[in-house]
Symmetry: C2
Subunit: 324 residues, 2 copies
Amino acid sequence: MKDLAELMNYRESVRVVDATLRDGGLVNDFFFTDDFVRALYRANLAAGVDYMEVGYRASKTMFNPADFGPWKFSDDEKIRQTIGEPDPALKLSVMADVGRCDYETDIRPKSESPVSLVRVATYLHQMPTAIKMIEDAKSKGYEVSCNIMAISAVQEADLRIALAMLAQSPVDTVYIVDSFGALYPEATERLMAVYRDTVAAAGKGIGMHAHNNQQLAFANTIEAVATGADWLDGTYDGMGRGAGNCPMEHLLGFLRNPKYKLYPVVQFVEKYMEPLRASGITWGPSLAYLLTGIFNQHPRAAIAYTKAGRSDICSFFNEISGQD
Amino acid sequence: MKDLAELMNYRESVRVVDATLRDGGLVNDFFFTDDFVRALYRANLAAGVDYMEVGYRASKTMFNPADFGPWKFSDDEKIRQTIGEPDPALKLSVMADVGRCDYETDIRPKSESPVSLVRVATYLHQMPTAIKMIEDAKSKGYEVSCNIMAISAVQEADLRIALAMLAQSPVDTVYIVDSFGALYPEATERLMAVYRDTVAAAGKGIGMHAHNNQQLAFANTIEAVATGADWLDGTYDGMGRGAGNCPMEHLLGFLRNPKYKLYPVVQFVEKYMEPLRASGITWGPSLAYLLTGIFNQHPRAAIAYTKAGRSDICSFFNEISGQD
């Protein structure tokens, strides 16, 4: 029987991370208003969410700040100016992509930053650089996670080698990131067994970041927490790239720790997410995203299909099923 | 390890039932055109679907035929006129609701009907009448299932008594019907264990009919098939009451039996379901349906909220959380 299987009790060690600004920012190029960000912080605080990811810490030499909203870069100054000093009950995180972050200079010592957690996002083959970034952030005083993207497309033998490297590293938590939304809950259960054997056995936490191509983001997150994952990502109204993420309102409706409250999430969705959708910003499950999920492909083809306003889904099926 | 857990092989005994006309008919009062019905039959045949439910066999003394499309009643004559004699590869079913079907007269001997399967839909407390209907349909030569509705709101002790009665009856298959969309996959797994102990032990099949309030209809269907359910309901584009059902395109994208084909489903969705949505017919997951699912309530409040075009979801939250 799985842990949490009684569906009634809870594990104190579970942490919920709101990734709305970061993964949702991929949908609107991070153009969230300061009012939105402040209200989101207050909603998360009221809802008992543990961490709020404010965005990426992207390189300003690689990306032109004029092309993006501020949360592509998430400067410490911008965070302080918008949110102020964070409440100890709701810590902040930023995501640092391997190869797209000037981490040596742009991540300053924790003592000078409102950020508590640096999440290093990496593809499996970039692991040596990811570990260098993990060591850098750890030495500067941060909590650090490693978020392994596109996990449904990696070989288990390679994954085990990478996880053994992470087990030796100072990283605190290692995530399953189902970038393609291709995992079924049983595949999540299998991956969890591999993570438990390796990084959890070395004292690291396990995290789950799911995408909703097959409407399985919530189901995979439930499966992960029931089989030992303590770090769970959600976003308000599921906002995130392509088919989006595990919706925060589903997740907090499921978790039984009394500190989690659903109502502030519903309030925020009514007041802030519905207008965002009404303004024309688009995300969430669709037949096109389902197909890239089933075919275990990056959602970029489905994103392009959606942006172009296409509805010839049979042609799309033939296009992507004909790809290698 | 679960059966089907390798996610690669398949079980010959699995049967897929398309419930689009029947559960989807609850959304548009069964006003499907003959062209839609014929094209759906052809799509199911091409997709390898095993059964197509054409609608209810509702009482014409209780419901006025002028108020509904023909698939509320699914007369044998109307079926023959629209579909003709069914192909042996794609059998037809009708649903007969306990207390809303003149089954003695309206269900004729199988030898006179194009229908193969009668599905008796019942609430738990109506089980004696359901068994009378099961015996009637069985004696007339049909395959018969019993679909136990609102399963998330019944006591396990009561359920075991009802399942013991069904084990003694001539019913072929007993369904879990998650009318409220309130089950989590682990709750499905528990129910499956109860069904295996009782009706499966007596040689009956187990079926799963899921609703999508929490975006778990597909996940619960996967869970059910992996733990022994052979009868799986799906609908095109998830069309069904309220939050809708397990989408057929998700289900056939998952099942590995080579006879199942995804492309005809995608074709039908493009050609027939998208125009239906565009015409203003509404179904599918939303925050209102999520809330009735979390609160384990009938979706009727959320249906009314949706029909009224309301967007004051916080007020709705207070309304339904204040109900007994």
